[in-house]
Each structure stands twice: as C-alpha cells, then as structure tokens.
C-alpha cells in the first residue's frame, strides 16, 4: 500500500477559509462561475475548478480583502 512519493500533476484545488471570509464578494466578480453568494453572506464555491480557470481563481484570491482564498494548481514545484 505504500505510495513512494506524490506523483504527477494534481487538478486545480481551491479552499476558502470561511472563518476569515466576510462576504465582501470580490471573488464573485473576479470569477463569477466559481464563487457565488447565497442569501446575505453564505459563500458557495467550486473547490475543483477546471484548469483553464486558473487565472480567474488567481484574480479572485488577489481580490479577496481578507485573503481567505487558497489554491493549488497541481503543478509540481
């Protein structure tokens, strides 16, 4: 069962720290198909966006005033 090391590229993955999130909704403007506000301040987001959305996700992370969005591109460093 041992997998010696991580291998290959992983897909694009996103997580939002919803303790930090204050519902400013800047991510929803930067990447409208990936982030959505529901009700007054519930954020729904796609944690596995298609890889062509990477630039949008990066813009959303940059736009967040409380820096709540983290993502990884699957690329090996």
């Amino acid at each position: 069962m041992t997998e010696p090391h991580e291998t290959g590229a992983r897909p694009l993955r996103v997580v939002v720290d919803l303790n930090r999130c204050q519902g400013y909704a800047q991510c929803c403007y930067a990447a409208p198909e990936q982030f959505e506000m529901r009700g007054h301040e519930i954020l729904f987001y796609d944690p596995t966006p298609p890889s062509e959305k990477q630039a949008e996700i990066a813009r959303a992370a940059q736009a967040c005033p409380v820096r709540a969005i983290s993502f990884d591109t699957g690329a090996k460093a």
Binding site: E3, R10, N19, E41, I42, F44, P47
Partner: protein, 430 residues
C-alpha cells in the same frame, strides 16, 4: 534530527496536511511520512454536511489543495494501531512498523455511533452517521433515493445542517433532540430559539425534549421506526445519528499517554503528555484529537472540532517540533467556527457555554440577522453572528483581550434591549 527516521504525521486530514506543510515551510528537509486510515488524500469536511448532501458537489471534489510541495511518503488506507514510545515506532494495521524521530498525532475524531449492545442486537440498515467522505457519499445516495421521512437524532450543527439540506431536497424531516432548542449546548436556548423559528418556516418537524430509545427494523432488516423513551414512535426509513464525535485515540490505548475518547491531553506547547503528565519526547498533537489547556480559558482543557483550530494548531505544533527544547512556545487560539443552514451564515468566536448572560448587540433575533455577545462574571467570553459576520472580528479582539461585558457600547445601529440568561442545558454527566 536523525536523518533516516524523520517525521511521521498520523492522520491525513486538514490538521495533518497543514502540519506537514508547516514543517516544510519551517525548513524541515528530512523524511516526512503521512499516515491515514482512509484511502483518500486529505479532504475538507465542512462541505460534506452541506453541498455534498445537497448533491451540488461530488464527495471527491472535497480534496484539499496542497499549499506546499510536500515531497512526502503517503501511507493511506493504513490505520495506525499502536505506538511504542521506547522504540519510537508506530505500528500500522498491515503489521508494518514505522520508525520516527518526531511524531505529530492528528488522528481527529469519529462520529459517535448509535450504541449497540447484546440487548439491542445489530442495528437495522438505513442508519447513518455523517463525518467522513464515505459517510457523506452513503448518506447522499440514501437521500437521493427519496426516503419517506428522514429522522435526524441530535440538533447540533451537523444535525441542523443536514435538516436544512433535506428540506432543500424536498424530503420530510423530523429532528429530535433532548434539549428545548437546537444548538442548545453551544449557543444556549435563548439564541437556539432562532433556529426553532427557521425549522418551523422550513417545515421541519422539530421534536424538543425527545429521547430516542431504539430503532425497529422491517422484515428486510431496514429501519422503519424509532421508539421514543416517552413511549411514542416516529415512522422513518432513513436515520441520521448526529450525536457528536469521539476522539480517535483507541490506537493509543497501550501507549502510556494521557488519552481517552475526549482527546489526547497536551501541554500549552502542543506536546502530548504521558501518564505522569510529562511531555512525551518528540510527540506532538494537533486538531480535533488534541485536548489542550488554553490561556483564554484558564483551568479548562478543551479539544476543538474546528477547522480554524486544525490549521492553526497544526502550524503551531510543527513550529515547536522544529524548535529547541527551551523555545517551545505556547499555543494561544481563540476558538472560531461557522455553519450555514436555512440560508443563514452563522459564525461564532470564543466559547459561549458557561456564559451567564447573552446580549443582542446589533440587529434582532426576530429578523434572524443579529450579533450577540456572551458574558460570564462581567467578562466578554464569546460572540455569535447570524448574517452579521463583518462585526465579528471587532468582538473577537475584545474577547481575546478579556474586556468587560458588555463590550463596544455606543456603536451605530445599536441599542441593547435584548439581553438575558443564555439558557444552557445542564452539563452531561460523564
């Protein structure tokens, strides 16, 4: 640190992953192994009881991003079954032994299952818990099959989120709890009463003061009825047992550490304590499993099942794992959680239980949009927001500073007319 043994992280969930990343960020370049009992890479739990149940996200969409290139060895689907501290060896279920120089224990917790005894016999099928990715996948499949009535036992955060999802799916739902309102233990019934009105609007059959005694099966062995202690019964073909979690410490039974189903006791530096109360050399803990003293709650040991605590404590433990013996820093953390249910974003900071007063500072309970603060003996100890999250950080700062209750008087949009006893249930007998 010895080069060949390296660091082993037991538990491949949020705390384990973020702890491993913090070790690499902190400059640790030696061997790193992550051990997990589930066959999956670390995943995010909060969506399971919301979007996964609702069918909006696939269970495997919850895999967490890796924020650092870990260059780690993964032993997934391989539970740890024992710990030999003298030999510094972890024993795994397949019989193999894993030597370590330093160990980070992040095995988390498991859903408290319905008790099965000789008298009760085996449980009928159709009774679910909701904690792991597999739990969520199984429950999602059961809900998608269109049960006639879902019975949720326990109106804590998970029970309420599940009730909210079931109503969104158009399913008939009964929510049973021994307390007068949902969320009674964490928020008290004064604030929990707001959820009662949400349940009512959403069409959930809420049964307060209700003790489920046993389940009955039909001829096919499927659950068909829950018998109540009071004698009545509830017809149901799908049950969600949402009675909280027990810490995953069973594998430490022979390890000589201070561990039980309430957690693995640690010191303020996140070092696991041995049976004599001394830090066990090289062993740290973080996340749901770690029961630590908290400088913000003097004299109290607590293990938090909070996302933010898993991240922060794992990072702190990793920092101390790499630091010298005389540079072990204290973990200070203000507990914080969030939940979304019935279209409302609920967020909390601090620990409200034990409060003697709660005051609504902004908004109103009737509008279901408010911020309330909890006080104990004249000090502000916690705050909760229902769709008022932007106010919360200001209160969090005051709670950390231990200011007098009530804090922040004279802000705009504020008049304290609604205050009183929070109305917590009696503590559970242990």
């Amino acid at each position: 640190m010895s080069a060949d043994r390296g660091v082993v992280v037991v538990g491949a969930s949020l705390a384990g992953l973020r702890g491993a990343e913090a070790l690499r960020r902190g400059g640790y370049a030696g061997p790193l192994t992550l051990v997990g009992d589930e066959p999956y890479q670390p995943y995010d739990r909060p969506p399971l009881s919301k979007h996964v149940l609702a069918g909006e996200l696939r269970p495997d969409a919850t895999a967490l991003p890796h924020l650092v290139d870990l260059d780690a060895t993964w032993r997934l689907g391989q539970p740890a079954v024992g710990l030999d501290r003298a030999a510094r060896m972890l024993r795994l279920a397949d019989g193999s032994a894993l030597p370590y120089e330093k160990l980070l224990i992040a095995t988390g917790a498991r859903a408290r299952s319905w008790p099965v005894t000789e008298k009760t016999g085996p449980l009928p099928s159709g009774i679910h818990t909701l904690r792991s990715r597999d739990d969520a996948a199984a429950l999602r499949a059961a809900l998608a099959a269109g049960p006639k009535r879902v019975l949720i036992v326990g109106a804590g955060l998970i029970g309420c989120e599940a009730a909210s999802c079931c109503r969104d799916l158009g399913l008939a739902v009964t929510l049973a709890d021994p307390n007068p309102t949902p969320l009674a233990r964490i928020l008290g019934s004064r604030i929990g009463g707001v959820i009662v009105s949400c349940l009512d609007t959403a069409g959930v059959d809420f049964r307060p003061g209700t003790h489920v005694d046993a389940f009955e099966a039909d001829a096919a062995g499927r659950v068909c009825r829950a018998r109540l202690k009071q004698g009545a019964a509830i017809e149901t073909d799908c049950v969600i047992v949402a009675l909280g979690a027990t810490r995953d410490t069973g594998w430490l039974a022979e390890a000589g550490l201070m561990a039980d189903e309430g957690g693995l006791t640690c010191d303020v530096a996140c070092r696991a304590l041995d049976a004599d109360g001394q830090p066990a050399p090289g062993i740290y803990a973080a996340g749901d499993v770690a029961r630590t003293p908290n400088p913000l709650h003097v004299g109290r040991l607590a293990a938090f099942e909070h996302w933010g605590n898993a991240v922060a404590q794992a990072g702190h433990a990793a920092r101390n794992m790499l630091a010298a013996e005389d540079d072990q820093q204290e973990y200070r953390h203000l507990p914080a959680f969030w939940s979304s249910q019935f279209g409302i974003n609920i967020k909390g900071v601090g620990l409200a239980d034990g409060a003697d007063t709660v005051a609504v500072m902004q908004g109103s309970r009737a509008s279901r949009r408010f911020l309330a603060v909890y006080g104990r003996e004249g000090r502000t100890i916690a705050a909760i927001s229902f769709d008022q999250a932007r106010w919360l950080p200001a209160y969090a700062e005051r709670i950390e500073a231990g200011v007098a209750f009530p804090p922040i008087l004279g802000a705009t949009d504020q008049s304290i007319k609604d205050f009183g006893v929070p109305d917590f249930p009696q503590p559970r007998s242990r």
